[in-house]
C-alpha cells in the first residue's frame, strides 16, 4: 500500500521514502540531460516557444507548438472517446485556446505539456457533459515576480522525468494510468501492482510547494 494513500496525506510526503531509488536534485538534472543525449539530438525547448507566444505573439513559435502538441491532443481526445472529426475540431480549439489564454501559462508551475493537458481536459469536460468545472482561484504573479530561468526549465524537465517514469512502468500499469487521465474508466481494469514511482511524485510536490511559497513571501 502506498504511503500517499494515508488519510493524512501530507506528512508522509515529507517523511523518509521506503521506495525504490529516487532520482532527485542535481542527479535528476544530469539524468534528464543524459536521457536527452541518449534519445539523440536536441530537445526542443517548449517553454521558450510558449513564452514567445505569450510575450511576443510569435506565430512561428505557435506553429512549432502546434505541430508537436496538436496531434497528441487529437490522440488524447480520441482515446477519451471522441470520433476523429470531433477530436480534430477540439484539438484545433485547444491550440487556439493556448494562444488566446497564453497569459495563464506560468512556466515555473507547469510545463507546456501539463498546460496543454489541462486545456484539453477542460475541453473534454465541456464536450462530455454540461457540468461546469469549478476552478481554484488563480495564483497571479505580479510583474516583479517573474520566475527565474532555472524554474522555467525545471517544469519541462519534470515532465520528461514523469514521462520516463511512465515509460519505465510495465505496459499494463502504464495503460491504466493513461486511461485514468483519458477519463475512460468504465473500461479500465485495475491491476494490483500498478503505480507510479512515489519518489518522482514526491519530489515534484516539494518543488511545487516551494514555488507557491516563494509567491507568497
Amino acid at each position: 500500500m502506498g504511503m500517499l494513500l494515508d488519510a493524512t496525506p501530507l506528512r508522509p510526503i515529507y517523511g523518509p521514502a521506503p521506495v525504490a531509488p529516487v532520482i532527485t536534485g542535481s542527479n535528476a538534472f544530469d539524468w534528464v540531460k543524459r536521457q536527452a543525449l541518449v534519445s539523440g539530438g536536441t530537445e526542443t525547448d517548449w517553454a521558450s516557444l510558449m513564452l514567445a507566444v505569450r510575450d511576443k505573439q510569435d506565430r512561428n513559435a505557435f506553429a512549432q507548438l502546434f505541430r508537436h502538441f496538436a496531434p497528441r491532443v487529437k490522440a488524447f481526445l480520441m482515446k477519451a472517446g471522441s470520433d476523429a472529426a470531433t477530436a480534430e475540431e477540439c484539438a484545433q480549439d485547444v491550440m487556439a485556446t493556448l494562444w488566446q489564454k497564453s497569459h495563464l501559462y506560468d512556466p515555473a508551475r507547469a510545463s507546456v505539456a501539463t498546460w496543454v493537458f489541462t486545456i484539453a481536459r477542460n475541453r473534454r469536460i465541456d464536450m462530455a457533459r454540461k457540468a461546469r468545472r469549478p476552478e481554484p482561484e488563480a495564483v497571479l504573479w505580479g510583474p516583479d515576480e517573474e520566475p527565474d530561468q532555472a524554474d522555467v526549465y525545471q517544469a519541462d524537465q519534470e515532465t520528461k522525468r514523469l514521462s520516463a517514469a511512465l515509460a519505465d512502468l510495465p505496459e499494463k500499469q502504464r495503460a491504466l494510468i493513461k486511461r485514468a487521465f483519458y477519463g475512460d474508466l468504465s473500461h479500465s481494469e485495475i491491476a494490483a501492482e500498478t503505480g507510479l514511482p512515489l519518489g518522482t511524485i514526491k519530489s515534484r510536490i516539494r518543488l511545487a510547494l516551494d514555488r507557491l511559497r516563494q509567491k507568497m513571501t
Partner: protein, 211 residues
C-alpha cells in the same frame, strides 16, 4: 489559518483527471483556493497528466489544420486584474453569485440554515449555517460527504475542523457535528451518490498509489 485536514489524493487525482462530480469539484476548488499544500499536490497530478499527453501517441491533424487555426488567431486575452477576496473564495463566489450577503438561506430548524447550490445531478452541494454550540440536525448522508469549514469550527466524534479544514466522511462514519461555541459555523458540504463515488475513486487511486 492552520489547515489540518486536507483533500485526499483520490479526490485530487480525480479532479486533475477531470473525473470528479461538479459538487465535489466545487469543494476541491474552494479548498485549493485556501491551501497551497493541496494546490501543490494537484499541480503534481496535473503534471502526470502532462506526461501522459507528452508521451501519447499522435494522430495526424487534417490537411490545412494549422493554417486554419493560424487564420483564426486573434488578439490574446489580457491578464485579469486580481479579484478582491470577499468572504467566499472565487470558485464558491461564482456559484453563490456573490458574497455572503447574496446567499439565499432556507431555515432547517434550531437556527440552522442551508442553501443548495446549483450543480449537475449526481452529486449535490450546499452551504450550511450552524449557530455556535448547535448540532447539525438530520445528518444522515448516503455515500461520501465532504465538508469544508469557511467560518468558525465544528467538532464531531472524529476530530475538530476549523477554517479551511475538509472532513471526508464516508457512509460508515456515524457522526454528529456540533458547531463550536463562540462563533457561528459556515460550511460548504457536498454529497455524492454512493455507487458512483465508490466505483470511481478506488479505480483512479490504485494505478498511481498501489505500490
Amino acid at each position: 489559518m492552520t489547515i489540518r485536514h486536507h483533500l485526499s489524493n483520490p479526490l485530487l487525482m480525480a479532479y486533475a483527471a477531470g473525473n470528479l462530480s461538479e459538487a465535489f469539484g466545487l469543494v476541491v476548488a474552494t479548498h485549493i483556493s485556501l491551501c497551497d499544500e493541496c494546490r501543490a499536490r494537484l499541480e503534481t497530478f496535473e503534471a502526470v497528466g502532462g506526461a501522459v499527453v507528452d508521451s501519447a501517441d499522435t494522430v495526424a491533424m487534417a490537411d490545412g489544420s494549422l493554417e486554419s487555426v493560424l487564420a483564426r488567431l486573434g488578439p490574446q486575452d489580457a491578464a485579469p486584474a486580481p479579484r478582491k477576496r470577499g468572504f467566499f473564495p472565487a470558485p464558491l463566489a461564482d456559484y453563490v453569485g456573490g458574497d455572503l450577503a447574496a446567499v439565499h438561506w432556507r431555515p432547517l430548524g434550531m437556527g440552522v440554515r442551508q442553501a443548495i447550490l446549483p450543480t449537475a445531478r449526481g452529486a449535490s452541494a450546499r452551504l450550511l449555517y450552524i449557530p455556535a454550540g448547535q448540532a447539525v440536525p438530520d445528518h444522515g448522508h448516503r455515500g461520501t460527504e465532504l465538508t469544508l469549514v469557511l467560518q468558525g469550527a465544528f467538532r464531531d466524534e472524529s476530530d475538530r475542523f476549523g477554517v479551511g479544514d475538509v472532513e471526508i466522511a464516508t457512509e460508515d462514519l456515524e457522526h454528529t457535528p456540533v458547531a463550536e461555541a463562540g462563533m457561528d459555523c459556515i460550511c460548504l458540504a457536498a454529497t455524492d451518490a454512493p455507487l458512483r463515488f465508490r466505483a470511481m475513486l478506488p479505480r483512479l487511486l490504485q494505478p498511481i498509489f498501489r505500490i
